[in-house]
Symmetry: D2
Subunit: 342 residues, 4 copies
Amino acid sequence: MYLFRNDYSFGAHPKVLEALSASNLEGNPGYGFDPHCEAAAARIKELCQAPQADVQFLIGGTSANFTAIAAFLRPWEGVFCAQTGHVNGHESGAVEATGHKLLPLEAGPDGKLTPALIEAALPAYEDIHLVKPRLVYISDATETGGVYTKAELEALSACCRAHDLLLFLDGARLGCALTSPANDLTLPDLARLTDAFYIGGTKNGALMGEALVLVNPALQGDFFRIKKQRGAVLAKGWLLGAQFEALLKDDLYFQLARHSNDMARKLQDGLKAKGYSFLFESPSNQIFPIVPDAILPELERICAFEVWGAAPEADHTVIRLVASFATEPSDVDGLLNEFPLP
Amino acid sequence: MYLFRNDYSFGAHPKVLEALSASNLEGNPGYGFDPHCEAAAARIKELCQAPQADVQFLIGGTSANFTAIAAFLRPWEGVFCAQTGHVNGHESGAVEATGHKLLPLEAGPDGKLTPALIEAALPAYEDIHLVKPRLVYISDATETGGVYTKAELEALSACCRAHDLLLFLDGARLGCALTSPANDLTLPDLARLTDAFYIGGTKNGALMGEALVLVNPALQGDFFRIKKQRGAVLAKGWLLGAQFEALLKDDLYFQLARHSNDMARKLQDGLKAKGYSFLFESPSNQIFPIVPDAILPELERICAFEVWGAAPEADHTVIRLVASFATEPSDVDGLLNEFPLP
Amino acid sequence: MYLFRNDYSFGAHPKVLEALSASNLEGNPGYGFDPHCEAAAARIKELCQAPQADVQFLIGGTSANFTAIAAFLRPWEGVFCAQTGHVNGHESGAVEATGHKLLPLEAGPDGKLTPALIEAALPAYEDIHLVKPRLVYISDATETGGVYTKAELEALSACCRAHDLLLFLDGARLGCALTSPANDLTLPDLARLTDAFYIGGTKNGALMGEALVLVNPALQGDFFRIKKQRGAVLAKGWLLGAQFEALLKDDLYFQLARHSNDMARKLQDGLKAKGYSFLFESPSNQIFPIVPDAILPELERICAFEVWGAAPEADHTVIRLVASFATEPSDVDGLLNEFPLP
Amino acid sequence: MYLFRNDYSFGAHPKVLEALSASNLEGNPGYGFDPHCEAAAARIKELCQAPQADVQFLIGGTSANFTAIAAFLRPWEGVFCAQTGHVNGHESGAVEATGHKLLPLEAGPDGKLTPALIEAALPAYEDIHLVKPRLVYISDATETGGVYTKAELEALSACCRAHDLLLFLDGARLGCALTSPANDLTLPDLARLTDAFYIGGTKNGALMGEALVLVNPALQGDFFRIKKQRGAVLAKGWLLGAQFEALLKDDLYFQLARHSNDMARKLQDGLKAKGYSFLFESPSNQIFPIVPDAILPELERICAFEVWGAAPEADHTVIRLVASFATEPSDVDGLLNEFPLP
């Protein structure tokens, strides 16, 4: 059974586990006020060339998304996101549960938002009987593996600033985005172009944890109080700091992400060679082949995957296959070998 | 420096760490739908003699408290708690952030609620311009280390049922409660007498995690959806299951708690012998000596502790000292040795 | 200047004003616990043939919508509505501000939901990482003047019951719906087929006020507490009761609505005769002619109306014209006379 | 039966009713964007000598309180109020339903907050595991009829500014406060010393309506969107403007309030002469005599009043008697005549 269902089926990279063991009996202060969190935050600010940023560790992506959005917005403000955005389709109404309306825009199959989509939507909200759009939520990589280029993010950032919109980037898969062949963005670019973004640990070698980088000074200050209020503070907070310390040492974080991308590309190339087409040719660690419904039972016997939805072609289904830091080349070869022809 | 600040300064018991390592590369399904969570939940139901219960793992105590309360209540319903209850004084308004009013009652220094306190408060709420009390929140052990007896919990449970109030027990320190010399309650008693309670992992040998036992069938059903919505679901959910499996094997959970209590009692006895009095003679792992303000600077040099508040005596302060699974007898001896006379 | 902007530009019908004056110095109990509210509620239950219903008066439509939805749902439950539904497009995120996600469905130009729309959407929500659809919000008449037939509402009601969905009907324009030539529903039908609905006063002869009929006993009970909590209780509550007493006497409510419909139809027929087409041929008091953009400036000089949106035809706009209880036949004749040709 | 239960048992002053009738068929724009609201707002800014203020009309006191608090605060911020404050004891958890924790302080029997109360409470909230106090809610007159002096409000205002706290004044009974013999404050003082306050109409001659004066520019801007979202916007918004126009013409508002105070003082003096003592000697339109429980049944036969709570003296009860614009001297004389001796 080949496991390509997602990038959180395996625990942590061995070096991360070692770091946890090493910190186990140190006797650290609680709630993230410890030397590990301090060192990891300092390293992140250095990598981002953003000394003024505030780095906050949270336990997971959904937490990071709704806590940040609830912290940033006033009650009458809404959130532009892609129809396919994680906040809209996978978080059980978490943003709405904080009182904010999501305003989904119809992005293309790569899941990326554009200034054109935003500017087409904005005029309707001049009506003061509606919520006021105030934040643009994007993910890099997107839900469907899309990766923003520097030109795209610069255009989006300029659009947001022109319209007094905050730009918040969900980086649950940021490692895979920044190491994708399609990418020309850097961490300092993100710090320059967004108001806040996070560096995802859960899906790239950590047991859990996201490092939220609050770049915009107006968003800093009392963040800990709302992080606590929304349940995103770990009592043993150093566990998050220690994991990010390990991941950010010797480029491990990016090595793991690059590996995930490589494994996914190898699989995508192999399937293409077998004659498969794709929802969208993904440049990161998730790929979306279109398969005949007839082979689904066979596929379920040989690998773990997710059904993504019906394909435009009749009797075909889009599936998702995801590679992770733990995917071995032999897993890819094995799956390609057993994968039926379309 | 002796570390008695809290019971979450150390990571996990070695057997718990081993279990995490062992599960690291198994390739488990996400979100808690894995064999470890299944086995741990089954074991908990067995220990509670509650086959009909629904066991849900959450990442921490604050999460468990507000997610459960938000799940159980309708918008106009309020929560009786002790003035000193964790939900009232330590969670940054987390329950109110879900829309519910806390209705604090003045408990004594042991932090325990009684039917008398509840019944004295109830009549005012017949006024329909107020919220309707619908849930009683208690902790065992309490914030000040108090431990409920079976007679006390039976009386409270009967009071709740008579007044159509749900009884919810915060068990962040349940291990220490159930292994306290003052205790005569069992897990099956809790399952019989409450509507829901949780078995705390974070403060008793786990890296993180609480096992919420939904006993009342009316509170079961869709709990996962709100757990997800409130950020309390770990993507790598098996991490919680695997830790509880390890803790519940061979009575480890209770051994660790008993050890914490023993260390705290040893410290309390030693301080009493030195002439100290206490806010309240605690039967569990937290103790509250009253110390002259003059020795605080010296204390800060020799040990980590928390200031709990001003003492009734002038120029005295109540401090909190907490023992944990990682406290060694030599730590207690060392601290007692260096602790100044009152 | 002919006023067709909306059906709330004028105050109350003279008989309603008289009732308010008559009650002015009676000295009534507050908050709706007075003989007028009692009598109006009794009359509504009688008209609905629903002796078991609970009738609650609220101050306005937005209040009625979000208070009812917040009262009916658990935090993880969502609301199916038409994309064009008032809750989705005109209430500044009021439902989301209570924590609930709206799940808009693409209704046709008449704004009506169908079992097919609901049943096509339902399967996706079996995924427990999403909110659980639990309530279907419809309006009769709809935002675009559409009116449900008995067969349609019966089908919708059966669909809701089959899928454990509550059916909630926004009746801000219920008078115009029930007196439309397209209608074959009665108040007892509504009480039989929905779980809750309201009889709108604001848009049909009252200064303000909606009468919410809670038919489903499971939705009754503590409603006053949440009505108070959400600001929908008037201190001088009898003002709402007295207005509904006046409106429901001698069929006044339905006469006013029938008049509004007649005026709108007269206008629609007149414009059709002039060569205009419509977004949708409305059977109630709102009509939606499609006009060339070139005549908009001229229209703005002669009448008050609302721009509804761009028409499918290039250089054309859909406008909304609304008749009310206060519209005179001479207003319609005058407007038709001055209305430019298309 | 003498009616002294509250100051909202009667409708509107005849001049207010006339204004409503006069505006009835004018055909006004909706939602408060009409000449009446404009004129009333301009008049209020003039009376307050606050040309920069934003005046917003809301339908009632509870709405005004929770909408303003929700608009002003960030999610982790809390509200100091008197234990007896209307937001804490009479609004069914409305503020908590917006997500904010109330932090009640123990005011004296006059219900007034002081800098000392606030400054004693503040230090505990430096703990970032708690909410951050950010707003002080006071009422003038208070729930028990207390009236702030200029010196008191200046001290409170200075305290708030020193501690970065917003000062919000609930003026549901502001007319009675400002016309009390105990008062030396003016509307311009309120505009200078608070961040926002409201001028209550409901309890002083209007059918309903409160005029919220947003003095602090940082609190202005998008207020309409949240007012709409929270159900506090009347479709026929001019009804509120027209009532305030009438009340503010020829000093009517203050005449009515002065009359209410006079009637209450006459009653208080008469009861004192009969030998009664009071919870607190009220200088405004609510008085709180302490009566032997034995006379309660007799009292219930002769007048409408509210039981306020048990008196310190055994077998005695504090009751509330309230005078309003509609109270006649003969009502007071009649009640005094029939009121039993203590």
